[in-house]
């Protein structure tokens, strides 16, 4: 059973990590709580579905197209809805909730509530410790690790990455040092939604597409970032695997309570907020950065 739990943790944890890191990145840099983050992931999934099923584009090209569309959409949304109210964090939070609802309703209008799917990039399965595991699932883990490594390299090795990290450390000082903080925030949002789109691309063949598919990952993503520490990439990574592990434990140890997985994640989130509000790797809220 332990091997099953570890395997399930790796599969789900990598998806949560991808989502949580994108979310954490934009919060850490620009203090934008982007509730619409998983809605971008949902829209990306629909873009891929549309490109592959309606336009006949091959899946890999469709994924690249989806990332471009989502980055453009993210930038437009930032300019129109977020930038004018950026200084008011609560207003931004509410605006992004509204954005997510708009995305959901538009997708519902275009594609209706029917469930849809795309074929896996690699079909088939293999036996791992006596349990069948799909190649697509293994590909998801690999892709998640590659994307995470890419994000890390981008942040560490590039000038923009340096700008993002320094803005995350101290916005005002970064501004004083000549960095265009607003521009860095916009570019970070682009990177963040691009990660959301890539997550959609990687996860889509494993899941079922519908306009409400953003809600369940949102709950898990919020729980992950609170556990790991708001704005902490390292924390998001660790939090994702911790929560995926707790989920797997519930399904394997209390099969009749499998539906409780989200409730447990939320309970962990509340406990963390009560006992250690800064999360595992976060910065204390009151502390001025």
């Amino acid at each position: 059973m332990l091997s099953d739990i570890i395997l399930t943790t790796l599969i789900n944890g990598s998806t949560y990590a991808l989502l949580a890191i994108g979310f954490s990145l934009i919060f850490g840099v620009a203090r934008i709580v982007n509730i619409a983050h998983t809605a971008f992931y949902m829209v990306a999934a629909y873009c891929i579905f549309f490109a592959t099923h309606r336009l006949g584009v091959n899946p890999v090209t469709a994924m690249l197209m989806a990332v471009i569309v989502i980055v453009l959409l993210g930038l437009i949304c930032y300019k129109l809805f977020i930038e004018p109210i950026r200084e008011h964090e609560a207003a931004v939070l509410i605006a992004t909730i509204a954005l997510a609802m708009i995305f959901q309703e538009v997708m519902l209008l275009i594609f209706k509530g029917d469930f849809r799917t795309v074929p896996p990039l690699v079909s088939g399965y293999m036996n791992l410790a006596g349990v069948k595991v799909g190649y697509q699932q293994l590909l998801t883990i690999a892709a998640a690790l590659i994307i995470l490594a890419g994000v890390w390299a981008f942040l560490i090795k590039t000038r923009l990455g340096l700008a993002i990290r320094s803005t995350a450390q101290d916005r005002e000082v970064a501004n004083l040092m000549g960095m265009n903080e607003a521009r860095v925030a916009m570019l970070t949002l682009a990177v963040s939604v691009a990660i959301a789109a890539l997550t959609g691309a990687v996860v889509l063949p494993l899941t079922v597409l519908n306009p409400h598919m953003w809600m369940q990952p949102l709950i898990m993503m919020m729980a992950v970032v609170v556990l790991g520490g708001l704005g902490s990439l390292k924390g998001s990574f660790a939090g994702a695997f911790i929560l995926a592990f707790s989920e797997a434990l519930i399904v394997f140890l209390i099969p009749k309570g499998a539906f409780l997985r989200e409730s447990v994640a939320l309970s962990i989130m509340i406990l963390v907020l009560l006992m250690r509000p800064e999360g595992l790797f976060g910065i204390v809220f009151e502390e001025e950065r």
Binding site: D4, G113, P119, V131, K132, F252
Partner: protein
């Protein structure tokens, strides 16, 4: 200028009165509210079935109500009940207060239907349920007849009969596994979404499956909207299950079937999977839902009686798919119009009395209500079908030489074909 302002005020007042009073102008029509999750296939079924009934009745001149003929007028209401209970109750309130409908058909999710039922009963409006299976919805009629007598369930039959029907399907599949693969005591995993209507079925399944010569290896309860069940599937594989008894009405049915198919797990799926009842299931699972079996009301080329084929063929011709059970709003409106004709009035109490006398053939079998206004299940009445996905086609596989009792006659509906075991299951267990 002053006169112009006065004219404007008069015009606006007239416009306001006209808008508010508009429903009252349509006194020569019978207004029927069709309520359901209209952005989802269940709601589409509600609406399409009702449209078919409306057109059939109106083409024949309408409903004879005493001395005059009245046409049917449908009013669509989106309950959005998968997402918001409040939307559902608001939609029902709007139908009854603003649209002033005479009757309501539809509803899907038990939790929403219970709330909508109370609103309809407050207004003493007949509500014909076409979606929710929970027995307790109809039990309310028996418990408080004066209040709840305006409620009737048209489809599906209640969850006790759903379970009974499913156990018969399960027994058929287990019999085939015994005969074909030599598995004498098949191991069964029960997987049911976390919803009110499932509770009684899980209890019944745990109690009855061992009595049917099978072993229950576990019960799994994923969320009804789960987008990933790989953890559950790993646990089911470990349990050694050979049959998965499914109880799904929501999107998890697609997720589950898709992921089982992708991994080619050596299990057969039998039970209820509402998503698998729809033609879109094949596309939704990318063909991975092959060999899934579910209870269903209609299937291509399967006939309960001479009324089935014209309805199913007409529905396919008009909407391009086989009707799902929520399209039995068609049956609901036909039964209602006949009851109105017999009552000769739109008085709900008189119509209730006539609906209670219903005993006639419908498109899915002979229709009769019990004392709680629940449709009667069983041979000679409604039985539904067992259907299976076989290489892209949803075909009827039950009843196939079914004997309800030892000395009862065999029942096989016209168009039924043999059940097929998935080839990878045969390969996994064939000795």
């Amino acid at each position: 200028m002053k006169n112009l302002k006065l004219l404007l005020v008069i015009f606006l007042a007239f416009f306001l009165v006209a808008t508010v009073a508009m429903p009252a102008w349509s006194a020569d029509t019978i207004k029927i509210g069709v309520i359901g999750p209209m952005n989802f296939s269940q709601g589409k079924g509600h609406w399409n079935g009702a449209l078919m009934a409306q057109d059939e009745i109106n083409a024949a001149g309408g409903v004879q109500v005493g001395p005059k003929k009245m046409k049917i007028e449908l009013v669509k209401a989106d309950s959005n009940e998968f997402i918001s209970m409040t939307d559902a109750t608001n939609a029902m309130e709007l139908l009854l207060t603003r649209e002033k409908v005479n009757f309501v058909v539809g509803g899907f999710r038990t939790e929403a239907v219970l709330a909508m039922q109370d609103i309809a009963m407050d207004y003493k409006t007949i509500f014909l349920g076409c979606g929710a299976a929970t027995k307790s919805i109809c039990d309310r009629v028996g418990e408080n007849y004066d209040r709840y007598k305006y409620w009737f369930r048209i489809t599906p039959f209640n969850n006790i009969f759903l379970a009974r029907g499913n156990f018969i399907h399960l027994a058929m599949v287990a019999g085939i596994m015994r005969k074909t693969l030599g598995i004498q005591t098949p191991k069964v995993a029960i997987v049911g979404e976390k919803q009110a209507w499932v509770e009684a079925m899980i209890t019944a399944a745990e109690a009855n499956i061992p009595k049917m010569g099978m072993e229950v290896v576990g019960v799994w309860r994923p969320s009804q909207t789960a987008t990933d069940v790989t953890a559950e599937l790993s646990a089911i594989q470990r349990s050694g299950a050979q049959i998965v008894f499914t109880i799904f009405s929501a999107s998890v049915g697609v997720t589950f079937a898709k992921q089982v198919g992708e991994l080619k797990l050596p299990v057969v799926q039998v039970g209820i999977n509402v998503e698998a009842q729809k033609e879109g299931f094949w596309e939704a699972t990318g063909g991975m839902g092959n060999y899934v079996m579910t209870m269903n009301t209609y299937a291509r080329d399967v006939e309960y009686n001479e009324l089935t084929k014209p309805f199913v063929d007409g529905y396919i011709k008009r909407f391009g798919e086989v009707p799902t059970y929520t399209a039995d709003t068609h049956e609901a409106i036909l039964l209602l119009s006949e009851a109105i004709q017999r009552a000769g009035s739109l008085d709900p109490d008189k119509i209730v009395a006539e609906l209670e006398k219903t005993d006639e053939e419908g498109t899915a079998g002979r229709f009769k209500f019990d004392k709680n206004h629940d449709p009667v299940w069983g041979p000679g009445y409604l039985t539904s079908l067992g259907v299976q996905w076989q290489d892209g086609k949803l075909v009827g596989v039950w009843p196939n030489k079914w004997k309800a009792a030892e000395n009862a006659p065999e029942i096989t509906y016209k168009g039924i074909v043999d059940y097929k075991l998935p080839p990878w299951v045969i390969e996994a267990y064939k000795k």
